[in-house]
Amino acid sequence: MLLQTENLTKTYLRVSPITRKVRRVHAVKDINFSIPHNCIYGLIGETGHGKSTFGRLALALETPTSGKVFFDGIELTALSKNKLRKLRPKFQMVFQSPDSALNPKQRISEIIGYPLRFQMGYSRRQVNWAVREMLEKVQLDIRYAESYPRELSGGQKQRVEIARALSLGPKFLVADEPASSLDASIRGRILNLLLKLKEEHSLTILFIGHNLEVIESICDTISVIYKGSIIETIAADKIRFESRHPYTRALFGHFRLKTLNPEPSSAAKRKINAVEEETTGCRFSWQCPFVGDRCWKDFPELTKFNAGEVRCHFFEEIW
């Protein structure tokens, strides 16, 4: 396994300014995850349910509240800052919001070139070459090398971000919605680039995304996250029709979810808040059409079924 996590948890605390009540946001909760070598692993799920946080934790860009991360057998969460920095080029992240990831004061050639020069020790000539090559790979004209990020369009910035992450030749890449601002044609080329790197340089990718068609075609295995925990893991070619978790099935349009009532009764409101905060039951229960008494009480375990693993009390009945 290239990447493994053990009970990875991240809880953000927020203090209400008026009541001084502390609210806990369980962004990532007890995730046990393993990604084998040389595959593209998909991570999907509702917005705000912890995908990006998990990505950052997996690359030790953030300190977890508890839990461990192993990269190629090395425990990242126990490494010193210095050792971690030496390892960094091996695992890279394509950030979701390129605008906040790219330094506005650096030119594109510097954004891509500085890490090469100072972390990899390339000569000036080599850097120039590498920058040129990377820009070409992500479909950007070489004239953008001398531009600043603000002079680029949204999709162009996203491609710079991809180029920056790939230029260091990582073994493992977390790609957080790398194609969300790209048109269908350029998206095709970027995805082909990722596939090629996987085949030729055995790159392993954790691909976070919302576009289900893209995820389905590029990934080998897909995990679905809901309120910070993995609720289903299944082979990509099976996810559309053979998934068992009600949320996954709703995501693929098999039925519509009970959504928030515009005027929720105070009881319903309390229930929602309870789910947001702490609950012993299944965190999906308030939205689930198949909900039963057990769901409110017990947190379901991840259980194997013929196509993968699922976290639902009634998965045998959902088909």
Binding site: P17, S52, G154, S181, G188, L260
Partner: protein
């Protein structure tokens, strides 16, 4: 020609950036009209100028560049390009709202979400602080930002990508604008929430008569939501057509190629589809069709002469061989 029915009318609009002693053309003679209550989509290659057009409508370009504009952008018959700062400020965020492509960078990182939205409301609508809070609360709940208090008291950096996007949508809709410019508003949302937000926007725009200019790379979403769609390629609007006819009756080779790539399926070799080649560099000042070098239908005339269209209202296409393509169908 000014059509009175039009809420927004972009006429022969060209935009260029004066940049380190060079002039970089970005948009070229755009003609686009949006009626009251109409939804218009804008799609096109990354870097083709969609966001630039959106920002130009509200004159939101960064100040460190000098812009050269030609033509006019008329809102209710008044040219926005010639308006003074006071005039444009009373329209911005009030009559015309915009949701930017990168929500995080368009929010002030120092202030809580509640404060930023309340400021817009108090400034434009003159509501009281507590009314503003109630309004924000309700809007957040409709956009599935629950519990609303949690998001109202958050700083922008504490939000996920999709949460940020919805906060921006709330900020844009809360003043009940006449025109909403939505630049990639669902790109960070999952399928379920994105569908619901679009339904919400749909009923909202019907109820309030809000016109929408929707920019998106997700062709399925745009197609479902808008009435008419404009296709931008290398700074030029090359085709405009009723969504109902897409993609079968799109005649421009670029539109056809784009829709061909849309389904994200892999071919026999396991590769994703894409269009070969690059768009022309803006500083090259090409004479002919901008799609020439990548087009499978091109002939010599395409290189020599810019294709044009007789009318630029209703459905139209700018391609020398549109008739031939139409006949082949």
């Amino acid at each position: 020609m000014l059509i009175m029915n039009d809420l927004l009318s972009i006429q022969n609009f060209s935009l260029a950036i004066h940049y380190e002693n060079r002039i970089l053309p970005i948009l070229h003679e755009i003609n686009l009209h949006i009626e009251t209550g109409e939804r218009v989509g804008l799609v096109g290659e990354s870097g083709s100028g969609k966001s630039s057009l959106a920002k130009a409508i509200l004159r939101l370009h960064e100040f460190n560049y000098s812009l050269l504009t030609e033509g006019g952008i008329f809102y209710k018959g008044e040219n926005l390009l010639g308006m003074d700062a006071h005039g444009i400020n009373s329209i911005r965020g009030n009559e015309i709202s915009i949701v930017f492509q990168d929500p995080l960078s368009s929010m002030n990182p120092m202030f809580k979400v509640r404060k930023q939205i309340a400021e817009v409301l108090i400034h434009h609508k003159g509501v009281s602080h507590s009314d503003a809070d109630d309004l924000i609360y309700d809007t957040f709940r409709e956009l599935h930002l629950t519990p609303p208090e949690r998001f109202m008291n958050a700083y922008p950096f504490q939000l996920s990508g999709g949460q940020c996007q919805r906060v921006m949508i709330a900020m844009a809709l809360i003043t009940v604008p006449k025109l909403l410019i939505a630049d990639e508003i669902t790109s960070s949302l999952d399928a379920i929430i994105s569908e619901e937000i679009l339904e919400l926007l749909d009923s909202y725009s019907r109820k309030q008569g809000t016109s929408v200019l929707m920019i998106s790379h997700n062709l399925h979403t745009v197609r479902k939501f808008v009435d008419r769609i404009g296709i931008l390629y290398a700074g030029q609007l090359v085709e405009c057509l009723n969504c109902y006819y897409l993609p079968e009756r799109a005649w421009h080779p670029y539109t056809r190629a784009l829709f061909y790539c849309a389904d994200a399926k892999r071919d026999e070799k396991g590769r994703f589809k894409s269009i070969d080649g690059y768009p022309p560099k803006p500083e090259m000042n090409i004479k002919g069709c901008p799609f020439y070098s990548r087009c499978e239908y091109h002939t010599d005339i395409c290189r020599e002469e810019m294709p044009s269209s007789e009318t630029e209202t209703g459905d139209w296409v700018k391609c020398h061989h549109a008739d031939q393509i139409r006949n082949e169908q």
